[in-house]
């Protein structure tokens, strides 16, 4: 077991307060209406309804009268199949079935492929308060694009106390107690030509549970608070190259006072992980002492992380070489 790395996971406190955002039909329309080429046809009274599941349903079975299993939490799409089925019904049947669909707790209806919904059906939607949209997109393309968009909107977001910097393509979250020197360190990194994503407070979103995306809260974006100087605008002081809107999180660095650290990792054989939103990110702890160039150390940690991404672990490789040499000598 001795040469096997020990892996230790620290869980972020922030990760435990999950908040999935509330998405109404109106939010969806405002954010993605343009991309999905949506046009509101009727039922603007239904814009406040909530989309309760981040995907799309084709209500073929529901229109046929089967409601035992019906995904009413999802946006309902009427494609060519649903349209031609409705056409084949008698007028009374068609009204009854469409009314039943509208009276379920669906968020809204989208008619795809550029089809128009008959005026009598639009009237039913208006009456029951269900928003109806039209899109020229092919049903399948619409479903794919809308599902991806919804998935992102539904991703849980947490607030981490730490600064986010992009170092050579490695997104690094710098954590540490207040006063430990995070902002000075971030300034040092900006001076070296790297980009600031967020100072002190970072919003982190989980993308489909696969990776984490970090960004700054809109209000404080591109601003920093530096002790003794005050609030500075990073774009004005350092130029547009010094900032970045969002960045994937690849590495978490925790700065700790030298004296607080009893035992520190000196070789880097073991791995530490930091868990945010159920995703584990590599983590390193750097001891802070006056006179140490922390920005430089973080830069090296980021570059070492980049090497690890390529499958090169310096510590493991070195140790294997050493053990190999000792075995060769003793035999």
């Amino acid at each position: 077991m001795s040469t096997e790395p020990v892996i230790q996971t620290i869980s972020s406190v922030a990760g435990q307060r999950l908040n999935v955002p509330v998405i109404t039909v109106e939010t969806f329309f405002r954010r993605h209406g343009k991309n999905l080429q949506l046009k509101l046809e009727s039922g603007s009274g239904g814009l406040e309804r909530r989309i309760r599941e981040p995907t799309i349903n084709r209500p073929g079975l529901a229109l046929a009268g089967f409601y035992t299993y019906f995904a009413e939490k999802r946006i309902q799409v009427l494609g060519a199949a649903e349209q031609s089925y409705l056409k084949h019904l008698t007028k009374t049947q068609r009204h009854r079935r469409f009314r039943a669909l509208c009276e379920a707790k669906i968020p809204c209806v989208v008619v795809s492929r550029g089809f128009y919904l008959a005026p009598d059906l639009l009237a039913i939607a208006e009456e029951t308060g269900v928003a109806v949209f039209r899109t020229p997109m092919i049903t399948m393309k619409f479903i794919n694009a809308a599902t991806i968009a919804l998935e992102l909107d539904f991703s849980p977001v947490v607030t981490e106390f730490g600064s986010m910097v992009d170092i050579l393509g490695i997104g690094v979250l710098i954590r540490g107690a207040s006063g430990v020197g995070k902002s000075e360190c971030v300034l040092g990194l900006i001076e070296r030509g790297y980009s600031l994503v967020s100072d002190d407070v970072t919003k982190i979103k989980s993308l489909e549970g696969r990776e984490l995306m970090a960004t700054a809260p809109e209000l404080t974006r591109y601003h920093m608070e530096v002790r003794g100087i005050g609030i500075i605008n990073v774009v004005s002081v350092f130029g547009i190259g010094a900032i970045r809107t969002e960045k994937r999180l690849d590495l978490v660095v925790t700065l700790k006072d030298w004296q607080e650290l009893e035992e520190m990792d000196r070789i880097g054989l073991d791995r530490e992980l930091y868990e945010i939103l159920k995703i584990q990110v590599p983590h390193v702890t750097i001891p802070v002492r006056p006179g140490r160039d922390i920005a430089r150390l973080i830069e090296v940690a980021a570059m070492d992380q980049k090497l690890k991404g390529l499958g090169l672990n310096s510590a493991v490789e070195f140790n294997q070489k050493l053990i190999g040499q000792m075995i060769a000598q003793s035999s």
């Binding site: 001795s2 000196r266 070789i267 053990i323 000792m326 000598q329 003793s330």
Partner: protein, 102 residues
Amino acid sequence: MGLLNRRTPTDSTEKVEKEVTIINRLGLHARPAAMFVRIASRYRCEILVAKEDEEISGKSIMGLMMLAAGQGSKLRIRAEGPDAAEAIRDIEELIQSRFNED
């Protein structure tokens, strides 16, 4: 200048020297070297470790690894300073315990 050269009573310079054999299977690789240094650094005395004609500081991880002391190799550990005996005792115990390996 007698004042500057005078030694405080606790600063008696002990000198201890000991030969120990590395017994764990993988030898003094990175992890044992880190443990060695962690213990050595607790003491004020100077610690020197020699293998054959190579001598390095017992408080340097890179130095210890450079010795490439595999299983069966003999190390000569010298300590000089106020707590030299204790330091040597602890280091010897660590090596005897096979660095909690095997």
